[in-house]
Point group: C2
Chain length 406, copies 2
Amino acid sequence: MITILKGGLSEVRGFSFAGVRAGIKKKGLDLAIIKSEVGSVPAAGVFTSNLVKAASVLLTERNLRGGKLGAVFLNSGRANCFTGARGERDAEEIAGRVARLLGIQPGEVGVLSTGLIGAPLPMAKVRRGILRAVARLSRNREESLRVAQSLMTTDTFPKEFAVATRLEDGTEVRIAGVAKGSGMIRPKLATMLAVILTDARATPGGLRLALRNAVEGSFNMITVDNDTSTNDAVLLLASGLAGGREISARDIDPNFQEALNCVTRELAKMIVRDGEGARHFFEVRVEGARNSYEAKLAALAVAGSNLVKAAIFGEDPNWGRIVAALGASGAYFNPLNLSLWFEGKGKTVYLVREGRPVGNPDRAKDIMRSKEFVIGIQLGEGKATAKAWGCDLTYDYVRINAKYRT
Amino acid sequence: MITILKGGLSEVRGFSFAGVRAGIKKKGLDLAIIKSEVGSVPAAGVFTSNLVKAASVLLTERNLRGGKLGAVFLNSGRANCFTGARGERDAEEIAGRVARLLGIQPGEVGVLSTGLIGAPLPMAKVRRGILRAVARLSRNREESLRVAQSLMTTDTFPKEFAVATRLEDGTEVRIAGVAKGSGMIRPKLATMLAVILTDARATPGGLRLALRNAVEGSFNMITVDNDTSTNDAVLLLASGLAGGREISARDIDPNFQEALNCVTRELAKMIVRDGEGARHFFEVRVEGARNSYEAKLAALAVAGSNLVKAAIFGEDPNWGRIVAALGASGAYFNPLNLSLWFEGKGKTVYLVREGRPVGNPDRAKDIMRSKEFVIGIQLGEGKATAKAWGCDLTYDYVRINAKYRT
C-alpha cells in the first residue's frame, strides 16, 4: 500500500524550499526555508517536553495556536535557547522578515533552531541567509537534500524520507519529511527536529492527532543518550493539493496514518543509525508485556542502558545487563517466564528461554558483529508489544561530546 | 563531634572478619566473612529496587525479617543472579555451611554476591573459600582491608571508612563500613554493596530507620551510569558492646545518625570517585528548589546526564547541557531565575546569574582541570537543597564495559 519515493520533499505538491550557507556553523549549509505555495495551510507540531524551551520553540508553539503556517525557517549551529529577551526578539525578527519577503503574516511562520545552547544567533548572517534562501526557493530534488543538509549538526548524513499511499477513497497522497539528530536524543514527547509535508487535505486538529499518534511509536521510541534537548520539534504541514477526503480529528484516514507512521518511523531510525559515534544500530522488540505502557518502558530501558550499549559496542553478548535493565524498567514480569534472543543475519539465537540461560552466549557474537540486529524479549505476562531503537555507546560518542562547544 | 578513624572494620568492637582468595575471579581476593563475636545481633538492610534480584539478595532479605544476623558472607566475581533454582540452593548452602562452622542458625547469615549476572557460583571453590575464611577470622586492621579487597570487581581501590562519635548520653560509639562499586550505579534505593558495623546498642527497627535515613542522602545520591544493579545491598549490624542509650525506631540518637550519615556518604563518594574509567569527580549542589524531592531530581539529573559527563571529561564548560538536564529533570524552575556556577581550587566562577549568561565560559576551564569540583545551581524557587555526586564519561568507561564478560 505504501510506496517509497526517492525525491524527498520534492515529492509533495504545494511546497517550495531552499537550503543555504549563512555562515552560522563553521562550515556547510546551515539555514533553510520551506514555503507553502498555496498560502497559509493547516499545520501541527509536537515539541520538546523540556522545561527550558528555545525562543524559537516558544514562538512556533504560539504561532501554531492558529492551526496554520505558510512557511518554516530552520537553522543549525545555534539553538537560540537560554538567550533571554534578545533570543525572543531574534526569533520574532526572523518570523517578521520571512513573512514580509513571502507576503504572509509573521504569525504564520514556524521558526526552528538547533545547535549550541546559550549563545545568540549571529543575526547579520541570518538576515543575509534569509534573502539568499528566499531567492533560491524551488521544488528540485537536489534542493530537498540541501534542506536536510542545512539541519545537520553532528549528523553524518542528511535525513529525508518520502512515501505515497492511497486514502480509502482512492486519492493518492504523499508525505515527505526531513530530520536531524543526533545527540541529546531521548524519548520524551518529541526528541529531535523534523519537518514533514503532505499534500493531503486536512484540518489542523486532524494533523495534530495524526502527528501525535505517529510520534508515539517513532520519535518517542528512540534513544541515543537519554538526554532531552531544549529544541526538539516536529512540524507537519498539509497543502491539500491532493484533494480527496479531509483528514480531521474525528476522521483520520487509516492509510494516511499508516503512511505518516512510516515516514516518522523511518526518519526516527535514521536518527539512531546516525547516533553520535554509533557503530551498531539495534531494535529492541518487547513482546508479552501486561500493557503497552509497560512494553514501551521495557523496550526503552534496554535501548537506553549505558551498560547494554557499551556491551553492544564490544560485541559482547552480556545478556545479564539486558535482564538488569528490564528489571529496573518499571515493567512487571516474572523472571521465570522471561525469554531473550538476538536476531540478525537471518538467524535467531536464544540466550534465555523461560527463565533459563540456554547454551553459550558467544553463539550470539556473530549476529552482534553485523551493523544492525534485533534484541528480542518475551516477558510472558500478556499480549502487549513495543519496539524501540538504540545505538551503541562508543569511544566516538565520548570524543564528540567531550569537545562539542569548542 | 565525629572523629575519623584509620582502622576500617577493626575499629568496631564485637566483630571479626577475613578476606581470602577462593578462585571465583581470575585473580585477587574474592570471598569474605564477617562474624559477630557476641552471637546473633540486631541488623538491618536496604536492597536493590530491581525487579530481578539475585538469589543472595532474596535470601538475605528473608533472613533479615528476624531482625538479627550473626554473620555475613560476601563474594565477588559472580552475582548469583538469574541462576534459577540452582542459585537459590547455592545461596542456602552457603548460609548453612557458614552457620554450621560458626555455631549459629542458617537464618542468621547474610549472603551478598557481586559480579557477572547469569552464571552460577563455582561451589567447590566457594566451599574451600569458606573454610579458609573461617580459619582466618580476626580483628586485625589488615584483615579489614582484605575484606574490602574481596568485594572489588572493576573497583581500582578498596573502600573502607570508620568514625567514632559520642551519643547524647556521652557513650562513645563507633561505626565502620566497607563498600564496592563501581559500575551499574544508579540512585534507586540501595545502589551497590556495603556492610556497616557498629558497636552501638540498637533494636532492628532503630537500625532500619537510621540506615534508610543515611542511604537517602548518600548511596541514593550517586550515579555512575544510571544502571541499577540486581545485587545492590547495604547491611548494618550492631554488636551493642559500646553500651549506652539504645538506638530504636522511636529514639535515634542524633549523633549516631549523623555519624552513620558520614560513613555512608564517604563510602558513597568513594564509589563515585572510583566510577568506572572516571577521571573527574564532581558534586552537584542544588539550592533554591521548591521542595527536597525536586532538589534531588535536579541534582541527580545533572550528575547523571551523559552529555554533562562527556563535557566534564573534555573539561569543556558547556553549561547549556546543564540547563537542558535541569529542564528535563522534572524539577520546576523559571529559567529567568536560574544561576549556575563552578567551584574549585578555592575559586567560584559564575556562568549564569539570574537567567543571564555572564562572561566567557572558558573562565571555568581551570576549575574543570582539577580532579574534583562543584557544580552549583540556584533554582530561585524556594529553600530546598540537595547534593548529588557523579563522575565523567570517559573512553575508559566504554572500554571497561565493552568487554566485561569476557
